[in-house]
């Protein structure tokens, strides 16, 4: 369904993505992992046509992004961004309604409002509907933004580190929500930092380092100690977690009790 073939992205002279390929089908949860600055965000922005690649092609259901208008793209792809702060006193409902932008001509219809209600129900924020977005907690706000993306009724949902500033409850809450969306047929592509959450939720993982695709495949194929050593430069042990029935990545840290504080040596 989504075919990304050999895209190259440059900021000035710096090459951010180097011949990246990505293939994904509807109903899948795809994770993109890699160190900070490796090009993950650039990749999702390029898929959303916010950044134009200098070479390569991106097609959705066989149709190239280049031949689609920005409104058509918005009907196919929704994006939940990394940082979002809203300083204006819109209500939750107002913000979710903005997801209908590519469909609204003039004023919103009853159908639009029903879709908005539905998105708020799915994300369990219906009770917040008349609250101002300026007064929400980080977790609530992130759900509002996801509800907005769902109201956009996309085939592909892109998430750029959707949970990195949230507590563990909210992280799981949000990933469950997104997982549900993928089970109902949406293609979810999420940039993730937590390797264990990625191992648990993703059907397929892409591992990027310095703009190069290092590895792709099932969590089991990608999350190997050697792959993680080459990209993140840390030693890990990967075990099979029988409680969750998924892989578990354990960084091989020295027990802290035996460890001298690093800064005391120099003083």
């Amino acid at each position: 369904m989504l075919e990304v073939n050999g895209i190259i992205v440059k900021y000035g002279n710096r090459q951010i993505l180097n011949q990246v390929d990505l293939h994904a089908e509807e109903g899948k949860f795809v994770g993109i992992i890699g160190p900070n600055g490796s090009g993950k965000t650039t990749l999702v922005k390029t898929i959303n046509n916010l950044i134009k690649p200098t070479a390569g092609s991106i097609t959705i259901d066989g149709q190239s992004l280049d031949t689609m208008s920005s409104i058509e793209i918005a009907k196919n792809i929704a994006m939940v961004s990394q940082v979002i702060s809203i300083n204006f006193e819109f209500t939750v409902e107002d913000v979710v309604l903005m997801g209908r932008t590519p469909y609204i001509k003039g004023a919103e219809t009853h159908e639009d409002m029903e879709i908005v209600q539905d998105a708020m129900k799915k994300t369990r924020i219906l009770h917040l509907k008349d609250r101002f977005v300026t007064q929400l907690s980080g977790g609530e706000l992130q759900k509002v933004i996801i509800a907005r993306a769902l109201a956009q009724d996309p085939k592909i949902l892109l998430l750029d580190e959707p949970t990195s500033h949230l507590d563990i409850t909210n992280q799981i809450d949000i990933l469950n929500l997104v997982k549900d969306a993928s089970r109902k047929g949406m293609l979810v592509i999420a940039v993730m930092h937590d390797l264990n959450l990625a191992a648990y939720y993703c059907d397929k993982i892409y591992l990027i380092r310095d703009g190069d695709m290092i590895s792709s495949g099932t969590p089991k194929e990608v999350l190997t100690p050697s792959n993680i050593k080459t990209t993140y430069n840390i030693d890990v042990e990967v075990i099979n977690n029988s409680i969750t029935n998924s892989l578990y990545v354990i960084p091989l840290l020295e027990p802290l009790g035996n460890h001298e504080p690093a800064f005391s040596e120099g003083i």
Partner: protein, 387 residues
């Protein structure tokens, strides 16, 4: 239930009614006493005559001679006023009141658009250098005896295009660069204006102009301003929803299918043109474009579909009231001073001379009311500048 149809629409209608009442009642106020009811009748009659004139003019264009004086005879009010009264209302006061309404509407609309576009509650229509451009135009116009209105309109428009192009980086215009470029150009233009002020023979005129006022209102000015301002207001309304989505971040808006750069460009150009049209007839009237969108955002919320028309109507109302104050207050003060026998007042009267018929620059009035109110808003909502 679609949100927009409900309460916001009734607020807009209420504001429109208030504006109409304010226009008529303020036309009735002045040194010659004419009752509001009589004023309303005279204005109504004038409107009827204009409609008649338009109909026979249109018909004569296609070659049909038509005497329209019999038209609407059943709804013509009894003529109970003198020619003099009609002249005062239709020839002097009404064009001035309407011009003030148009300028207020233009400044508030442009201010509201700029605040949304720049995501900055301190933005006003002048923020990217339009007022400095217009002031320079006026200085040149007065000094070189050229048509001031035209020159200041042209220079204000050029200013905004220069600022826009300076800020352009690879086809995009980052809003912070736009602000900084605007400030830089403003300083440059102000220096040029000061230069003209220093050498000009028409120092008084230029300074009066810069304080803002409607002394020279005429139907001709009303016509030109009305065309530009009404068209601009209508066009900016079309971008209300896009401005909403852009408040969540430009990238987010783009992801929703909004062509952010094109919206930015159009909103900037529209705001610039209506501001230039307003400033070139009125001089620099401050605070309307800053305060009015602020207040309206407090009342009806940040959705530009309601906020823009509400700001437009309230801006018009506010400036009509301010202008009435500006042209009647000095006479009132004079009356108070004369009737009192306090020594100090007599001294003041001697020093200042007669205040009878003095017409204050309306820019002074709006700033005198606007600035304290703005301070009040800042104190009240310190935690968040955005309403």
């Amino acid at each position: 239930m679609p949100k927009y149809s409900g309460s916001i629409r009734s607020v807009i209608i209420a504001l429109a009614v208030i504006l109409l009442v304010v226009v008529v009642s303020n036309t009735a106020i002045g040194t010659t006493n004419i009752s509001p009811v009589l004023t309303a009748k005279i204005i109504y009659m004038g409107l009827l005559e204009w409609v008649r004139g338009t109909i026979s003019w249109t018909l004569s264009l296609i070659g049909i001679p038509f005497d329209s004086s019999a038209l609407f005879s059943s709804i013509v009010p009894d003529n109970t006023w003198t020619d003099g009264q009609e002249k005062i209302i239709m020839g002097i006061r009404l064009p001035r009141v309407i011009l003030a309404a148009l300028v207020g509407a233009a400044l508030a609309t442009a201010g509201c658009s700029m605040q949304g576009l720049l995501k900055n509650p301190l933005a006003d229509p002048y923020i990217i250098g339009m007022s400095s451009g217009a002031a320079l135009g006026a200085a040149i116009g007065f000094t070189l005896m050229l048509p001031t209105q035209l020159i200041s309109f042209i220079i204000a428009t050029i200013t905004i295009f220069v600022v826009y192009n300076i800020s352009k980086v690879g086809g995009k215009v980052p809003v912070d660069t736009l602000l900084l470029a605007g400030i830089a150009i403003s300083f440059f233009l102000s220096a040029l204006t000061s230069f003209f002020l220093f050498f000009s023979e028409s120092l008084h005129q230029i300074i009066y102009w810069m304080m803002g006022g409607f002394w020279n209102a005429s139907w001709d000015k009303v016509k030109i301003t009305m065309i530009i301002v009404l068209a601009g207001i209508g066009l900016s309304q079309r971008h209300a929803w896009n401005l909403n989505t852009m408040l969540l971040g430009e990238e987010q808006a783009q992801s929703l299918g909004v062509n952010v750069e094109s919206v930015k460009k159009q909103v900037l150009v529209i705001s610039a043109l209506i501001t230039a049209a307003a400033v070139s007839v009125s001089g620099i009237v401050g605070f309307v474009g800053l305060i009015i969108p602020h207040i309206m955002r407090n009342i009806i919320g940040p959705d530009h579909r309601g906020l823009l028309p509400a700001s437009t109507l309230m801006g018009a109302t506010f400036l009509v009231l301010s202008d009435t104050f500006a042209r009647t207050f000095p006479s009132k003060v004079q009356a108070v001073l004369e009737s009192s026998d306090i020594m100090l007042f007599q001294v003041i009267l001697e020093r200042v001379g007669s205040l009878q018929g003095v017409d204050l620059p309306v820019g002074i009035v709006t700033a005198l009311f606007g600035a304290p109110f703005f301070v009040y808003l800042l104190r009240k909502r310190r935690k968040s500048l955005y309403a």
